[in-house]
Every structure is written in structure tokens, then in C-alpha cells.
């Protein structure tokens, strides 16, 4: 009887397993368990885990908090749009706004120092994509995501948007500087 016909016997549940199948199922199951336990394992022993810390917020409130650090820690402005470059103290809370179609402000962080980076959108979804490091995080309106991160190599990085956010999605790009102390 082939697979497009009903099984030949009424009770097929009791047919013994084939050796090929039995062996493969055992191997595959072990592999599945390995993959499953890799995730909790990495939470304990690995260093790259996306934070679970998030809050509900509003654009106004988030804008205000970002403005505070811009007022306090701006070191210069860049481009014709005079985007402020913020150099916050090591270990502090850093705010980054995603909005159509800009990241604001620009950040300058210190190599080897840890920061609490807050991410939120003012309007639609955006995608925080840090290149060439290749760290990618979804940015929501109405939610404030707090990601603790430690830049380990000095240099000039790019933040591009990789969640489609309308007609100028491809123009949404910014920089992130990591400087030696």
C-alpha cells in the first residue's frame, strides 16, 4: 500500500520501528536537546544576550529624557542638520531616538566601558542595525528597550535602519563613535 492509500492494516500503531528510523530519531532528538540547551547555557555563560528590560513609554516622555542628555553631554554637532554628538559618562544611561527618518542624537562612547543604551521610536517601527558589528534590534514606538552594551573596539560605526519604515527608509543612517580613553 502506498502513501496515497489507506494503511493496509487496521492497527498500524503496533508495527515495530525500522532500525534506520529508530537510530535517526535518537540521534536527531539528542541534537534537538543540544540546540535547546544552548540558549539557556548562553544566558549563563555567554556574553551576548539581548536584554529583557523594557518599559512602556510615550514619545513625549522619551523625547524629554533624550533632550536632557543632549543638553548635558553634547560635545559637537555634525552635518548640515547639526546633529548633536553626545559623549555621556561611562556607565550612564544613553538615549537614542529613532524617528522618520533619522537616528538622534549621535553617540560617542568609550572603548571597554559599559552603557545602558535606551532605544525607542517616536512613530513607526525602525530597525537598529549597528554595522559592521552586525547587532540588530527592533525598535518600537511606545516601548523603551534598555540594552546594556560594552563597545570593545574603537572606531567609527554606522547605525542603519533595517526595518522598513516608509519611502525614505534607505536614507535613515547615523554614526556611532567609539573612542579610546
Amino acid at each position: 500500500m502506498s502513501a496515497i492509500q489507506p494503511p493496509a492494516v487496521r492497527v498500524w500503531w503496533k508495527q515495530p520501528l525500522d532500525r534506520v528510523e529508530g537510530t535517526w530519531i535518537a540521534i536527531a532528538f539528542v541534537w534537538c536537546l543540544v540546540m535547546f540547551f544552548m540558549m539557556p547555557y548562553w544566558h549563563v555563560y555567554g556574553k551576548q544576550n539581548l536584554s529583557n528590560e523594557a518599559y512602556r513609554t510615550t514619545p513625549e516622555r522619551y523625547q524629554q529624557k533624550t533632550q536632557e542628555i543632549v543638553d548635558r553631554y553634547t560635545v559637537r554637532t555634525e552635518t548640515d542638520l547639526k546633529v548633536p554628538v553626545v559623549h555621556p559618562p561611562a556607565g550612564s544611561d544613553v538615549y537614542l531616538i529613532a524617528r522618520l527618518w533619522q537616528w538622534w542624537p549621535m553617540l560617542e562612547l568609550e572603548e571597554g566601558k559599559t552603557y545602558r543604551l535606551h532605544l525607542a521610536s517616536m512613530d513607526w517601527l525602525h530597525g537598529f542595525s549597528l554595522q559592521p558589528e552586525n547587532i540588530n534590534v527592533e525598535v518600537h514606538p511606545g516601548y523603551e528597550h534598555v540594552v546594556t552594551l560594552t563597545p570593545t573596539r574603537a572606531g567609527t560605526y554606522s547605525i542603519i535602519c533595517n526595518e522598513y519604515c516608509g519611502i525614505n527608509h534607505h536614507t535613515m543612517a547615523s554614526r556611532l563613535y567609539v573612542v579610546k580613553r
Binding site: 487496521r10 492497527v11 500503531w13 503496533k14 518599559y55 512602556r56 513609554t57 516601548y143
Partner: protein
């Protein structure tokens, strides 16, 4: 191979169908499981987590 002894469907009819096979033979029970599992584990659990997100300072 053994002598071609045969099972006639009638002889076999006495044999009870195992519970797992009964489950697999029942599309509507499967439908229930297939809706209930993801609804509870994915949708309900997920929505509860979203609703429980605290307010920012």
C-alpha cells in the same frame, strides 16, 4: 521469509485500536489540540507578557 500466513481483516477486527492511533485517526480532536496549544503557549502567554510591561519612569 516465514510461510505466507495471512491476516484477514476480520480476524484483526477484534484487536483494540491503541489510544494513540485513535487520536491520530480523529481529525477533530487533532484540530482542537492544534488550536489550543499555540493559542495558550504563544498567543496568550505572549499577550500576558506584553500587558505586564511596566511603565517607564
Amino acid at each position: 521469509m516465514a510461510a505466507p500466513q495471512t491476516i484477514r481483516p476480520e480476524d484483526e477486527a477484534d484487536e483494540p485500536v491503541p489510544a494513540m492511533q485513535q487520536l491520530l485517526d480523529n481529525p477533530f480532536l487533532l484540530l482542537f489540540i492544534g488550536i489550543a496549544m499555540p493559542t495558550v503557549l504563544y498567543v496568550v502567554w505572549g499577550v500576558m507578557e506584553i500587558v505586564g510591561i511596566p511603565l517607564a519612569r
